[in-house]
Point group: C2
Chain length 456, copies 2
């Protein structure tokens, strides 16, 4: 067996990286749970009929076939065929959540707040250098029939709080409102709103001049209409009054006022005011945010990690009036999703955050000789019983070698069991300080107990 | 969209079930980490060449194809072909771990103790009623070149401790030793050891008479040799001396003594003695344990949950002298794996364990009217800042309706913010008791703070 090579697009971390990722996930989970979001986990697969409903990402699905089908001549003939019941890996957590809500509607209590942290897969072409497997962390709240607007304020604040709890620099949640922008486009006389949104969505990538041209080419806009779209997209800021005034000024200039725009502007300024009161500076309006997906119907969110604009939005989402519908009932919702793996990859790649050690172990108990290993094991069990992660030296090598074993792994303490009637000692191998210690009472300082995340 | 139906073999839980599963996983993880096992996570896919190396489970692999390949006429032609680089979903966590160790050998510190909790997939035929997606929780320790025997004692004890920490009834780890049984078979004059093991492995399923016949038919055993194999398989017990005496008596009777048997017996009795001293009653010898897989070379483990023998072994594993090899180095290891989903499925199905509520929320803050929602949000944030999971009522309905909202979800406390200058009150809706409370100091009793697992 030769040494295997990594698979492009399928990130894996060394133990220190996984501990870092796990710490981030634990913190996200804690924030979500403190806000009353309940965990669910959905299966990794959905029928293709479910996955391809929206059409857009159809090229990115991994289809599953059983190996046995390749061996069976009859089954083999159907290997080139697809039908709706065929299974594929989910490419996000929204499609499975919508299906889960419909499937279990009678057994869930609405409004239903859930978080979901799972891997998703996208069959991107390898040469794109994109992730084909990655972890998403989603929160959504979904109602039955209706869902109050205040959740459009609450959810980005929960995410802002969750992201602020990570040692990753400042994250700003940027918000727009689909009613506002669509109302404005309609007020201008534009009709193909999906095309307009798709063009505006490219602003960061191709710049205003190219977007103006695209609007003319693909959304039947006049030059003046295209300019108006660009003007709207330039409005941003954290203060409700200023944003409101800027939108009104623009609306008046183009005579674009209408009820839909008014409703959207009311929601956007309401959101900004509430966010400003709750978590000042965490949420700002940014009217160029379009979000390509056409199921958003109210607030839409993106977020930027300071110093890492090139990562793009690390947390996105929005309000949708119909997450799912079973004919008699619709399920409106609002949700946001964090792309965890891309974030972790960046943090590891740039050495920006580290864990204090690549193992949980705080204490290594030395072994004097193999005959006294049970004695060392008893010390370890006594420490573990009091919540101290403890390992025992693998061999009864010279103490210098056992200390080296700890040092390589950044295990901070080595414990030396005393002889029959002697007392035990514990050494902080960073300072070299060695003191007498009792397995029934000694604990490391809180900062040394578990591996910690530290900004570098 | 009509109501979707569950997919056979792909278990999913309602929120209470997922909270239960998550609590079990948290407890396992804590035990593993207290013992110094470090977490890793591997990608869900491996090249088929890697997955099919051992051959045995080849029929159970899910092969991945990109949806785009079905649309592209040239790619489509190759859809019926397989090659070693094609990706499939992993069917256990041992194959990916072996690959991970080889791939990262230069960057890992040995002996390397890791735990891994992930989903695995097996393309079983749907009608088998087996799980096609399930969670495994594995611990392994792997050495470079060599690995001391004491880890064969340590690992089953860690699992016994982890399982004893769950509210699921008594779990007994049952152990055998491959050297002992193979030495015995060789001493009898049998030569096809793989065939013998495969026959003995069926004891629980088909009984001794049928196994004796199988041994004659498939392992070239005489009637007397078959009987000797059955006699060995009957030996069990927790006391090293008794097990040792029983094996020796049998060995003498059949004149089967040899060095390999002696080495295996020494390991088995050594394991029993150490286990008896560390965790009395947790580990017993059971010499019928064969474990079909041929890569085990020393101790082999299974475990039985009292009252749920029909579940089969809920935790299995063993010692392997070569988890992986890169030509110049081999990596011996010992590991055990818990089948978490099957266990959770049984616990949920039989209502044996429950969580105290299906949401994290301990306190629901009532909302007097929508204008005062920010006031209620501030109470909630104050409680969350002190670690109390708190939600705010979805609408300013009558208080009776808000209490009902909490009651349906088994949220134990409802908080009523006072008017401007009034004091707040909190009600335990189980007892009806309502007291004055200050958001800066009040906390629920520890038992109510988070959902808890309780045996029913």
């Amino acid at each position: 067996m030769t040494r295997p090579a990594p698979l492009s697009g399928f990130p894996e971390w060394l133990p220190a990286g996984r501990l870092l990722e796990q710490s981030l996930l634990d913190r996200l989970r804690r924030t979500f749970e403190l806000h009353g979001f309940t965990p669910i986990e959905t299966r990794a697969v959905e029928p293709l009929g479910e996955l391809l409903r929206k059409g857009e990402t159809s090229q990115e699905v991994y289809v599953l076939r059983r190996l046995q089908e390749y061996a069976d001549p009859r089954a083999r003939a159907s290997l080139t065929e697809l039908d709706d019941r065929q299974l594929g890996l989910h490419f996000d957590l929204t499609v499975p959540f919508a299906r889960y809500v419909l499937e279990n509607a009678g057994r869930l209590d609405f409004p239903f707040k859930r978080y979901q942290i799972q891997k998703v897969w996208r069959g991107e072409r390898p040469q794109d250098g994109r992730f084909r497997e990655f972890i998403q962390a989603d929160i959504d709240v979904v109602g039955q029939g209706s869902l109050p607007f205040h959740y459009e304020v609450e959810l980005p604040l929960v995410m802002a709080e969750a992201l602020a709890g990570l040692p990753i620099g400042r994250v700003e949640v940027r918000v727009n409102n689909r009613k506002l922008s669509q109302g404005f486009y309609l007020g201008l006389g534009l009709t193909d709103l999906t095309a307009v949104l798709r063009c505006v969505d490219k602003l960061d990538k191709i710049g205003p001049a190219a977007v103006a041209q695209l609007l003319v080419d693909q959304a039947q806009a006049s030059g003046a209409q295209a300019q108006a779209c660009l003007d709207l997209a330039q409005i941003q800021g954290g203060l409700a009054d200023q944003v409101g005034a800027a939108v009104r000024a623009l609306t008046d200039r183009y005579g674009a006022a209408n009820d839909q725009l008014e409703a959207g502007l009311g929601e956007l300024t309401g959101l900004l005011e509430a966010a400003q009161a709750a978590l000042p500076g965490a949420v700002v309006a940014d009217l160029k945010i379009a979000r390509g997906l056409d199921y958003y119907t109210g607030s839409v969110y993106e977020s930027v990690l300071e110093g890492h604009q090139s990562l793009g939005s690390i947390c996105s989402g929005g309000r949708y009036d119909s997450l799912a519908s079973d004919g008699s009932q619709t399920y409106p919702g609002v949700g946001l999703s964090i792309g965890v793996s891309r974030l972790v990859s960046r943090l590891i790649g740039q050495d920006q955050v580290q864990v204090t050690r690549p193992v949980p172990t705080a204490v290594l108990v030395a072994v004097a000789d193999e005959a006294s290993r049970p004695r060392s094991e008893r010390v370890a069990q006594a420490l573990r019983a009091r919540g101290v992660p403890t390992d025992v030296a693998p061999t009864a090598a010279k103490y210098g070698k056992q200390i080296k074993f700890a040092d390589i792994r950044s295990i901070p303490y080595v414990w030396f069991p005393g002889q029959e009637d002697g007392t035990d000692q514990v050494k902080d191998i960073r300072s070299g300080q060695q003191v007498e210690a009792d397995q029934r009472t000694w604990s490391p300082p809180a900062d040394d107990l578990w591996p910690r995340l530290v900004a570098v």
